[in-house]
């Protein structure tokens, strides 16, 4: 006997044939309601809670922005600016690049309080302050990893090594997609590079490959690989060839009787529909000028940075690539896509080479995202989608209150930077079921968490919970373990304090 209940084995056997779903019903829903005879199996699967949201938009700032220039107002750090770091903060610590005794670095910006909750936000995010009362800002995030690739993997897959399913894969495995013509898990990237850990960040690990994220490209090529018919073959002609394929496949099915043949026929039909539905949903020129202006989006814009060997030096503050992706994210969730993951590269502000500084690069990057993120929230609200969408913003770790000193020992314009900091950083969540406000605090220098520490596993547990998935029960048996997004131990727990 298999390790799964028989009923679930049957589901597995069925589901591997399906990519999106059947006739308007989410594939997950189909898998878990129509095919199951035994309700208890659904409970074991962990998909049993009432869902607060239908979709997730996860905005991952790859490289990790500095919390000390965005959300963490630390006057005490300012007072210690350019003095040597107190020894107590250095003992027994590992840094990626900092050597010896670094100097403290006060925030390179102005802070003000905004909104009803008096949230501290820096002058780099003027648009965001307008929707600040919709956010729950968590200033007490911490992680176990301090290098990009393992930390990104840990954030997105719950394991710092390669080979584990990403959050989006887990979610679509559990819930499927709401739209039969679109993938359930879509990835959009900007900033000129894929994130450090590469496509493993949206890989399906040990889950079937149908659950891997589908990267939709916005750089001029097919939005989904191989989506376009060959040059010269019209859609009408493609229809004719597909009809012939279907007919010949039916002959084959009559002869052999393999149900898989019928599945193949339907998947070819779905591919044909996607050839229209995907470019349609990916076409932001269908949006009104008012909406485009709200986001600062520019249809068809292809940034120079997207094809550059080193995009960092080509960053411009009015580059609309990320804005376009935010607008796409809204279009995708509006069309029933379950999990939309945006990666924006270029947030690794060490200050050790050109184009990666706190003082010059960070303001460019924030102007690329500020307006569009605020617009995304505004737009979701005016369309009534905000309450059924969960929005998450953050990097893979934080940045040190000390300046990075391995290249420049002294402050030098264009080369002011901070090293990786796993002990405390800021993320925010917004949308359905999230109580606006704040959670957690760091010490007066922003080095350690002073209250309400939030782990990556807590965050992951909370995201699953909002989708109606019990993070502790939701699992997949692999390598002798009931594998879960939140890992094998029970250290992760849902952040009930921030839930409405």
């Amino acid at each position: 006997m298999n390790t799964l209940p028989i009923s679930l084995q049957k589901v597995r056997a069925e589901t591997r044939r399906h990519f999106f779903g059947k006739a308007g019903m989410g594939f997950g829903a189909m898998a878990l309601s129509s095919l199951l005879n035994s309700d208890s199996s659904a409970e074991q699967q962990g998909v049993s809670l009432p869902a607060k949201v239908k979709s997730v938009i996860y905005l991952h700032m790859a490289g990790s922005p500095s919390q000390l220039e965005l959300f963490e107002n630390k006057p005490a750090l300012g007072r210690l600016h350019n003095t040597e770091c107190p020894q107590e903060y250095l003992e027994g610590k590992r840094f990626a690049f900092i050597k010896g005794v670094p100097k403290m670095l006060g925030s390179q910006c102005e802070f003000k309080q905004h909104g009803e909750n008096g949230q501290w936000v820096s002058n780099h995010l003027p648009h965001l302050t307008k929707v600040i009362d919709d956010l729950c800002i968590i200033r007490s995030m911490h992680t176990e990893q301090f290098n990009h690739s393992p930390a990104q993997l840990f954030m997105q897959t719950g394991n710092s090594l390669l080979g584990y399913p990403s959050m989006g894969s887990w979610v679509t495995y559990g819930l499927g997609s709401e739209n039969k013509d679109l993938p359930g898990f879509v990835v959009l990237s900007s900033g000129g590079k894929t994130p450090s850990a590469g496509k493993s960040l949206w890989g399906s690990g040990f889950l079937p490959t149908v659950y891997q994220g589908v990267q939709c490209r916005t750089d001029g090529g097919d939005p989904i690989l191989f989506l376009s018919n060959p040059d010269g073959l019209s859609r009408k002609s493609r229809r004719k060839t597909l009809d012939a394929i279907s007919d010949l496949n039916r002959f084959q099915h009559e002869k052999v009787g393999d149900p898989e043949t019928l599945t193949r026929i339907s998947q070819y039909e779905l591919a044909f529909r996607m050839q229209v539905s995907v470019p349609e949903v990916m076409d932001i020129s269908r949006e009104s000028q008012k909406t485009l202006d709200l986001y600062g989006a520019k249809p068809g814009y292809i940034s120079e940075a997207e094809s550059a060997a080193d995009p960092r030096r080509l960053y411009k503050s009015d580059d609309p690539t990320f804005a376009n992706n935010c607008l796409l994210a809204r279009r995708l969730v509006e069309n029933g896509v379950r999990f939309v993951q945006l990666y924006d590269w270029g947030w690794d502000h060490h200050g050790s080479s050109l184009g990666e500084s706190i003082d010059e690069t960070l303001p460019i990057k924030t102007s690329q995202i500020d307006q569009s993120i605020a617009a995304l929230i505004t737009d979701l609200k005016q369309r009534g989608l905000f309450d059924e969408t969960l929005i998450i913003w953050g990097g893979e770790f934080g940045r040190t209150p000390m300046m990075q000193n391995n290249v420049n020992k002294e402050l030098k314009p264009g080369f002011i930077g901070r090293d990786h900091h796993p002990h405390a950083f800021t993320m925010w969540m917004a949308g359905g079921g999230i109580k606006p406000g704040m959670l957690g605090q760091t010490d007066e220098l922003g080095y350690y968490i002073a209250e309400n520490p939030v782990s990556v596993r807590d965050l992951q547990a909370t995201i699953l919970h909002q989708l109606g998935i019990n993070p502790h029960e939701f699992n997949f048996p692999y390598q002798g373990l009931d594998q879960r997004l939140i890992g094998p131990t029970d250290e992760g727990s849902v952040l009930h304090d921030i839930l409405a």
């Binding site: 393992p150 496509k199 079937p208 490959t209 989904i224 060839t241 012939a244 007919d247 070819y268």
Partner: protein
């Protein structure tokens, strides 16, 4: 009604799940019942807290051991109602019920009933089936279907399940099926013609032998192993830089093609470096465990990622050979299988002793066969040339004797005699009869000397100047015996004229200090010159050629200025200055000037040896060039005795938090290293392959079986432990395992045995009855039919269209992929679409970048090579349709196929029929021909569309409608599926 019959009745009244469970329960014999039904229930719901893991254990109760369960009262054999376990399971009280509500687990009614039934029958435990070494079971006696042992095992189960086997598949199906299974390619035309013209048993066996003997066999089956070996062309993680390790891939292909026995295959890969007198190929094989990832990201701790790699080696070894998931024991003792945390780190200790540490070294130069052959030839030629150079004939001895004698009249070097000397410190310079100078007094700290010398007797122009230094006197004020000749200038003095500067060239010395090379003594700059630390206490010499030979003239002298102002007394003490009249290429900076003269004669004077010298030089260049092209492959190498690491248990798997010291040992539940083995990786390899190991042979045959039938006899190929699935045919599995081992671990023989069975040769046709009773074909009453693997999908399309390049081995290639797929942080490496033959190589040669694997391949479920991939889950998605419809590889295949179809006949219907024959190896039905003809007639391309369609298919001229037809053929379910 007795209790057990009551339970069984309840069983049958349950839904689907219960039915299957009851079915298994009844079919299993008594001991099997525990393994097949009861243990999985206990494992799923109970063992996490009442199993092996001593740290997680609750209430000091173990339910995996009968004694503990009975003593604790959890189980009262024969009396389910009085067993605490049953009472707890049935309880409605949240404080009492098991499993506890917060664990999330809950027994289904069927599971609970099964436990009660088992307790009622006496609660008999049995050891897990796969942990007892296989013995050869009796083959079932019924040979009514077939006498082949495999068929007799299979037939018995078919009958039990109220099924009957299918008839033999049609010859064209069998032909394609066996060719695809054994070589990953469709049959060649020759193979097809031979078999289809006479589809007899003998012809079939001949076809199988032919396929097993082809190079394509290894290229296909190596893929399975490379998935396990997590082979890729890059290192992984952020930078994901290239790693040259394709020679290992070729080693695997070769090992399959030569049918290397599985035990030797194992020894070489796990411990080739430790085998006595290992050859280069055996060392290369150890690259198996160098396929682990390396992290080149800045600031990462090499030790952290070295440890991660070693853990991966332990996990992969256990997964690949024993089908066990040791990985969880990194953090805590395995909850289900007998691998404790200490066991894990004892095993880790064997693998923790190699030199590599998250960096490329150690590597070994690993020439390909072609490179090896070329190098051997060049080396042989070189030896011959050198021997002829050293032992020349044709008057050499006479000629050199005459030449040497000439130096008696015109010596190679003639010492010059001092005519005047000036020192800023008024030193005196003495000269003895041999021409040697020496300073009489204590050397000053620094000085500049001007030494005027007479030219020697003779008429020939002077070609070169030489300075010999002798070891300095050991007494004296200055401890450092080095000399710093910062600058040397030479002038000619004719009696009536101003001194004129002489240009020097080709400075050379027997030895120069680093940074103080002899060239710097004549570079017109005082900041450095010629010196010779750390060999300051030896004699040295330097030679400077005159840019223009110095003609003799009455009264002509030369004047040397020796700037020695460095300080610390680094001045010449005893030395000699001489000149030569001989050609400068005869003059070498040898301390003993006569040394090497015979070599000079060979290289510079005697024509026959001069030619040889040139050939030697050309040959050496060629060797050097070739050697620089030989790939350096990372390998395993054991640390030297004094540098061995100690291994400790990592608390919760954290390498920074280590506790008790452990020594190397294999998990105690699986015996010990075989007698005579050392405590090293080779010992581990021998333990894996030893006949007392219960798992290795079973796991290996199951894996081959699964590739052929689409599913293993044990479906969870990756888990033979207590959490894995139970074999559908335990006896057959054991029979195959023993057969494999006793037949010298030959994979080719095992595969041949399988494909010669009637089980394999059955038609794949489904009936409603079969679909209802056995939808997953567990009982094999029909032939295997499933979608081809990612690699086969590509290779087959290239093969039937005639595009396939059949080149064996070599560096990985980059067939076209859409632009912009690689956007990896900082690596700067680029995908360059191959042109020419490399565009159409088999998929196994496609460059695999871990963070960005070839998209058309991953769409068809191939992995990224990041970690050991035991099993690919087959999917059927619209993205796959888009690949075969629109990817350039498949469009070009359609183009080439359309040309073949068009040229096969003048008639469209014939062309269509040919297309079907070329792709499916069968006659087209009239329905198919009609349908495709209709398609052809309905398609319409204007001239622009035609041109574009041809270009997309890689053709200059052709018929776009036929390309569309070929595109249809390459997308048929029958084509993409093993028949």
């Amino acid at each position: 009604m007795d209790r057990s019959r009551f339970f069984l009745r309840v069983f049958f009244s349950l839904q689907l799940a219960g039915l299957l469970l009851a079915d298994q329960f009844l079919l299993a014999d008594e001991l099997d019942r525990f393994n097949r039904v009861v243990r999985p229930i206990l494992a799923k719901h109970c063992f996490a807290c009442h199993g092996r893991d001593e740290e997680a254990r609750q209430a000091d109760l173990r339910l995996d051991l009968r004694d503990s369960a009975v003593e604790g009262g959890a189980i009262k054999p024969g009396f389910p109602d009085q067993s605490e376990m049953v009472i707890r399971i049935d309880s409605k009280d949240a404080n009492v019920v098991m499993p506890p509500p917060d664990s999330g687990g809950k027994l289904t009614a069927a599971e609970s009933l099964a436990l009660k039934q088992w307790i009622a029958e006496g609660a008999k435990y049995a050891s897990h089936w796969s942990f007892t070494p296989p013995t050869r079971p009796d083959v079932p006696g019924d040979n009514s279907w077939s006498s082949h042992p495999i068929d007799r095992f299979i037939h018995a189960k078919i009958l039990t399940h109220n099924l009957s086997p299918n008839a033999v598949a049609e010859p064209f199906e069998l032909l394609r099926r066996v060719a695809l299974d054994l070589t990953g390619l469709p049959p060649t035309q020759v193979q097809a013609n031979a078999f289809l013209s006479n589809p007899s048993d003998e012809a079939y066996e001949a076809l199988v032998d032919d396929l097993l003997g082809s190079d394509a066999y290894g290229e296909h089956w190596a893929r399975m192993w490379l998935d396990l070996a997590r082979y890729a062309d890059t290192k992984g993680y952020e930078k994901d830089r290239e790693r040259t390790i394709w020679r290992y891939r070729d080693w695997v292909i070769q090992a399959f093609n030569s049918d290397q026995p599985f035990d030797q295959f194992t020894f070489d890969q796990l411990a080739g470096d430790l085998i006595a007198n290992a050859n280069a190929e055996q060392v290369l094989a150890t690259a198996f465990h160098r396929n682990t990832m390396e992290n080149d990201e800045g600031g990462t701790d090499d030790e952290e990622f070295r440890v991660a790699a070693v853990k991966d080696r332990v996990d992969t070894t256990m997964q690949v050979w024993m089908g066990l998931t040791a990985g969880c024991a990194k953090c805590h003792s395995h909850k289900y299988d007998p691998i404790s945390q200490v066991d894990y780190y004892q095993l880790f200790a064997f693998f923790n002793q190699t030199e590599d540490s998250d960096r490329s070294p150690p590597t070994v130069a690993s020439p390909t066969v072609a490179q090896r052959t070329a190098l051997d030839q060049l080396d042989g030629e070189l030896m011959q040339l050198q021997s002829r150079f050293q032992n020349p004939r044709n008057g050499f001895d006479e000629a050199i004797a005459v030449w040497m004698k000439s130096f008696e009249t015109t010596p190679l070097w003639v010492p010059l005699v001092k005519s005047d000397f000036h020192s800023e410190h008024d030193l005196q310079l003495n000269q003895d009869e041999a021409g040697e100078f020496s300073v009489e007094a204590e050397l000053p700290e620094k000085d500049t000397w001007i030494l005027t010398l007479d030219l020697p007797v003779g008429t020939q122009p002077l070609t070169s100047l030489r300075i010999d230094t002798r070891p300095k006197k050991s007494d004296g004020k200055w401890p450092d015996k080095n000399v710093a000749l910062r600058e040397l200038t030479v002038e000619i003095i004719d009696s009536d004229l101003q001194p004129s500067l002489i240009k020097l060239k080709n400075p050379r010395a027997d030895f120069s200090q680093k940074g103080w090379e002899v060239t710097r003594a004549i570079d017109g700059n005082f900041d450095a010159g010629w010196a010779f630390s750390p060999k300051a206490s030896d004699a040295h010499c330097a030679i400077f050629d005159f840019a223009e030979p110095i003609e003799r003239k009455e009264g002509r002298r030369i004047r040397l200025t020796l700037e020695q102002e460095y300080g610390q007394g680094l001045l010449l003490d005893e030395f000699l200055v001489s000149t030569s009249v001989h050609p400068i290429n005869w003059l070498r900076p040898d301390l003993d000037a006569a040394t090497g003269l015979s070599d000079v004669f060979r290289r510079e004077v005697f024509p026959a040896t001069m030619q040889l010298a040139e050939k030697i030089s050309t040959n050496r260049d060629a060797i050097k060039r070739l050697r620089s092209q030989v790939p350096n492959i990372p390998i395993m190498r054991e640390l030297a005795a004094g540098k061995r690491r100690e291994t400790r248990v990592h608390i919760r798997g954290n390498f920074l938090d280590q506790s008790d010291l452990v020594s190397p040992a294999v998990p105690s539940a699986f015996g010990a290293l075989p007698e005579g083995s050392l405590q090293d990786r080779l010992g581990v390899a021998r333990w894996l392959m030893h006949e007392s190991n219960p798992l290795t042979a079973r796991v290996a045959v199951n894996r081959l079986w699964s590739k052929i039938f689409g599913k293993g006899l044990v479906e969870t190929e990756e888990d033979f432990g207590t959490q894995g699935s139970y074999p559908t045919h335990p006896d057959l599995l054991d029979w195959l395992a023993v057969e494999f081992r006793e037949n010298g671990w030959s994979r080719k023989q095992l595969l041949k045995k399988i494909v010669l069975s009637k089980t394999y040769q059955q038609s794949a046709a489904f009936t409603d009855h079969k679909l209802a009773i056995d939808p997953r074909n567990d009982w094999l009453s029909r032939g295997p039919r499933f979608r081809l693997s990612a690699e086969m999908v590509r290779d087959q399309a290239l093969a039937v269209s005639g595009l396939l390049t059949t080149k064996l081995g070599g560096p990985s290639v980059m067939p076209p992929q859409p632009d912009g797929i690689w956007k990896t942080t900082y690596s700067g490496e680029k995908w360059k679409n191959a042109t020419g033959p490399d565009r159409y190589r088999r998929a196994i040669y496609t460059y695999k970048k871990r963070t960005s694997p070839y998209p058309a391949m991953t769409t068809f479920d191939s992995g990224s090579g990041e970690v050991c991939q035991i099993r690919r889950i087959r999917t059927n998605t619209p993205l796959q349709a888009l690949v075969t419809l629109n990817d350039v590889a498949f469009l070009e295949a359609a183009g080439a196929l359309s040309v073949r179809m068009t040229s096969s006949s003048n008639r469209l219907t014939q062309q269509i029929a040919e297309g079907i024959r070329m792709t499916l190896y069968r006659d087209a039905t009239s329905g198919e021909v009609d349908r495709l003809e209709m398609l052809y007639q309905s398609l319409d391309f204007d001239s622009t569309q035609k041109e574009r369609m041809l270009a997309a298919a890689g053709l200059d001229s052709g018929d776009p409608r036929m390309i569309a037809l070929a595109n249809v053929l390459l997308n048929l379910d029958e084509f993409l599926t093993k028949p």
